[in-house]
């Protein structure tokens, strides 16, 4: 029967799409579990280093590191973490929206922004709108290593050290739960005194080896690195979760569409049969 050939083809094509989205959903679900484990695994390090920074703040150090000293803000550096791939709902778009909003505010205050970008999506977006990108790294895959992002971090740290930016911020997605990812802006440098539990200034100091400057240099660099790395790992978990949710709703929508089309197809077929019978009956009556 020739009835509704187009509809049948359409249904077949949607079914194929649905197969793809369903497969992507399942892949994302299994990857999400792994990325979440990785996120848990990196937490102890950043928690410990934050604790040390807090200890340091309560101490009475003989030396104040430049990273802890605030200065008037004329230029800010931004480290932005985006995903390498799309098809993950509004994850990247929401993040970019926050970025643009903040950059507009800075722009209005006459503050210039230089960016360091991790991830392909951020690269293509901010590249196309002509943001000032001074460093980038892409295609880190699902198992990023700390070494992969050191270059990007160092560029911003150096910029802070030589005075070409006065603040460094990190922009990435915060993993709240599977359904919710929250774009978040965190100040990395100068290390905010709010993080440092003001108040209880004790009269003690560490014994440093080899000396305060060198040890603090390394400690504070590690601190920033660990925060960015934590952000990256977390963003990965966000990406998989967002993709899983997006693909699930895509599969569900495809299912609904198929149902509707099937109904239309059945109706059309039924109508054709009824008409045929009516014609036969009509023809027989005329004889």
């Amino acid at each position: 029967m020739a009835v509704g050939k187009e509809i049948r083809l359409k249904i077949a094509s949607i079914k194929n799409t649905q197969k793809i989205t369903r497969a992507m959903e399942m892949v994302a679900a299994s990857k999400m579990r792994k990325t979440q484990d990785r996120m848990q695994a990196t937490r102890p390090y950043s928690q410990r280093i934050i604790k040390i920074i807090q200890h340091l703040a309560t101490a009475n150090p003989e030396y104040r590191h430049p990273y802890t000293i605030a200065r008037p803000v004329k230029r800010v550096g931004l480290i932005l973490i985006s995903s390498d791939r799309g098809l993950c709902g509004g994850l990247n778009a929401n993040l970019f929206r926050l970025a643009i909003r903040r950059m507009r505010e800075w722009d209005a205050q006459g503050v210039a922004v230089t960016m360091a970008i991790i991830g392909l999506k951020g690269q293509s977006f901010f590249g196309s709108i002509g943001a000032q990108v001074i460093a980038q790294t892409t295609r880190l895959g699902d198992r990023p290593e700390l070494q992969d992002i050191l270059g990007v971090i160092k560029v911003q740290l150096d910029a802070f050290a030589d005075g070409s930016v006065d603040e460094v911020h990190l922009l990435s997605n915060d993993f709240v739960n599977t359904m919710t990812q929250k774009p978040t802006l965190t100040q990395l440098l100068p290390i905010a005194s709010a993080d440092m539990e003001e108040g209880a200034k004790a009269q003690w100091d560490y014994i440093y080896e080899p000396d305060a400057r060198e040890v603090l240099d390394q400690l504070l660099v590690r601190y920033v690195e660990s925060l960015v790395f934590q952000g990256l790992v977390e963003n990965n978990a966000c990406e998989q979760a967002a993709r899983m949710v997006a693909m699930k709703s895509a599969s569900d929508n495809a299912g609904k569409l198929i149902k509707e089309l099937q109904l239309i197809y059945n109706k059309a077929r039924q109508a054709a049969i009824t008409q045929e019978i009516a014609e036969i009956v009509g023809g027989a009556a005329a004889v």
Partner: protein
């Protein structure tokens, strides 16, 4: 019973050791240090080498670290281990590489940001998402 201190050894990618120990021996940059309970607050860089944790008089656990930091507080000892050997020139090379990639991308080096274009692009994405939402709620 000898006095013990709490020891945590962590790297950026995993928790390596957490527990009580009688003594921790670490390869600080200026020579090995042994930390027992009630050590004064101490902060030092580590060089690549072996951290040994003496859990009891008979049990000693070795861990290899490729550099890092050690912090001693009255509450315990924290060792932040690096995951790879870090050298200044390697970091430098990574930074240059990241810069180069950014420069490759920026054919247009005007450095002037086009907020209107950004807004338009984002609006597009937002509209797409909103349409999807609407479509979904209509069908639900």
């Amino acid at each position: 019973m000898a006095m013990t201190i709490h020891v945590d050894i962590v790297s950026a990618q995993a928790e390596i050791f957490s527990g009580h120990a009688e003594l921790v021996i670490a390869p600080a940059e200026m020579g090995e240090v042994g930390i027992a309970a009630r050590h004064a607050p101490f902060l030092a860089r580590l060089k690549p080498g072996e951290v040994r944790v003496k859990i009891s008089s008979t049990e000693m656990q070795p861990f290899y670290v490729s550099g890092g930091l050690i912090e001693v507080q009255p509450q315990g000892v924290t060792i932040l281990a690096d995951t790879a050997i870090r050298a200044k020139d390697i970091d430098e090379a990574a930074a240059l590489e990241a810069k180069r990639r950014a420069e490759d991308m920026l054919a247009d080096k005007s450095g002037k940001m086009d907020f209107a274009l950004a807004q338009a692009k984002l609006a597009e994405a937002v509209v797409q998402l909103r349409t999807l939402d609407k479509y979904r709620s209509n069908r639900a």
